[in-house]
């Protein structure tokens, strides 16, 4: 039986923890709302972009001279996995579910005899992957000092991916992030970056107008495709931020509830042992009096 004093200190410490988790939850709620707004505000650009891209890409379908970013290098030997996670923890299964998806994908590729490279965005994903794939990680990008993710950050990552691609570092690039479906539901998602994943469903009759292009279709595509990669990364990062706070919110909510349960249990034990102590003392006094 623990002493009364040790019980008291334990209750106090659990209460302090509960206060922290409660505060973190509230902060996460506030930040989630902002992150959600920003993620939604960025959607029109990405939508229009894929719309234009789909229109242009159809012109190149099946052609040999299509840009490499659209058609691929023709090989499938080296894969680059861009894994976007957060830099901070305390967010439930957020980081581990993204890195698990990436890891499973990597194992599948390795089994098929392909070469795999990693580009980690965010410290937590790097921590999770370096144990198994330490020597395959080519680069780590940390965004810890960044308060609000801007397009320029995504653009910088996009440039790194492109540089690597142009120097023949890989053939296929896949992006991993958590898609923000709702506050309690974030889905780890993989999305192919290179060759560009052009949604075929965009092509409706009204859109299929014949475009005149300036300077030329090839030039525009060459300009558009690299930018599309940055846009996709930007979108993934914003989705990730929203997912992170959603995940943190529910994790902190259950932590607060757990702490509450623990306090209740400890308080019961504390009261019981206090009562037992009093009874014991009373018995001692009474039996002492009777002995006289």
């Amino acid at each position: 039986m623990p002493s009364l004093k040790s019980l008291r200190t334990r209750i106090a410490s659990v209460k302090a923890t509960q206060k922290i988790t409660k505060a973190m939850q509230m902060v996460a709620v506030a930040k989630l709302r902002r992150a959600q707004q920003i993620a939604e505000a960025s959607r029109p650009y990405a939508d229009r972009m894929s719309h234009v891209l789909a229109n242009l890409a159809r012109a190149f379908e099946g052609q040999v001279d299509a840009p490499k970013l659209l058609a691929g290098t023709g090989r499938d030997a080296v894969h680059l996995l861009v894994v976007c996670t957060s830099d901070r923890g305390l967010c439930g299964g957020f980081n581990s579910s993204i890195s698990r998806l990436a890891r499973d994908h990597a194992y599948r590729l390795l089994e098929q005899g392909k070469e795999v490279k990693f580009l980690c965005v965010g410290r937590k994903g790097h921590d999770a992957l370096k144990r198994t794939f330490g020597d395959l990680i080519v680069e780590v990008v940390e965004l810890r000092t960044v308060r609000q993710i801007g397009f320029e950050h995504a653009d910088a990552i996009g440039k790194k991916v492109l540089d690597l691609f142009e120097t023949g570092g890989f053939d296929v690039a896949t992006l991993f992030y958590a898609h923000f479906k709702s506050v309690i539901n974030q889905i780890p998602t993989q999305h192919r970056l290179i060759p560009a994943d052009v949604p075929a469903t965009h092509a409706t009759v009204a859109d299929s107008a014949i475009y005149e292009c300036e300077p030329g279709e090839t030039e525009i595509l060459e300009d558009l495709l690299p930018r599309n990669i940055s846009v996709q990364i930007y979108r993934a990062l914003l989705e990730n931020v929203a997912s992170f706070f959603g995940s943190q919110m529910s994790a902190m909510d259950s932590a607060t509830r757990n702490a509450g349960d623990m306090i209740k249990k400890l308080t019961t034990t504390y009261n019981r042992s206090r009562q037992a102590q009093i009874t014991k003392e009373l018995i001692e006094i009474i039996s002492g009096a009777e002995a006289l």
Binding site: A41, S42, Y45, V52, A206, C213, E214, R227
Partner: protein, 142 residues
């Protein structure tokens, strides 16, 4: 009086503008072009420059665009801009940063082709700055 059509200006961060306008002048890669209602479907890259549009009330607004795409479809005009700043808010510090970025781009370019493109962008940017008439007092524009 010209007929109005739908004009949308989007940056990666948000939808900046979505309204009915009469006329838009876009700084296309191969020169300025004007879009009116019923323009043929047309796609063009944009160079850094000034985009001017005339609203339904006849007022002209001017914005600085730092590159992007213009997509003229039968339903309207969509401009995908990397960055768009109203000319009135376009201060010397913004220019200095833009020019510094472009210069860094020229330096970072490895191949001759990339260098040429970056240099072109820098020249276009300087041109746009002169056009806005803010070049005086900004020491970093050389």
């Amino acid at each position: 009086m010209a007929e109005a059509f739908k004009f949308e200006l989007v940056s990666p961060a948000r939808l900046i503008l979505s309204e009915e306008v009469e006329e838009v002048v876009v700084p296309g890669a191969e020169g300025y072009f004007t879009v009116l209602k019923g323009h043929a479907p047309f796609l063009s890259t944009i160079r850094p420059g000034v985009l001017a549009f005339t609203g339904k009330d006849g007022k002209v607004a001017r914005l600085f665009i730092a590159g992007g795409f213009a997509d003229v479809s039968p339903t309207g005009l969509t401009v995908l801009a990397e960055q768009a700043i109203p000319v009135e808010e376009f201060g010397t510090d913004v220019i200095a940063r833009q020019v510094a970025d472009a210069e860094a781009g020229v330096k970072a370019a490895r191949s001759d082709e990339a260098k040429r493109i970056a240099q072109e962008k820098l020249d276009q940017l300087k041109e746009a700055v002169v056009e806005i008439g803010l070049v005086s007092g900004s020491g970093s524009t050389h």
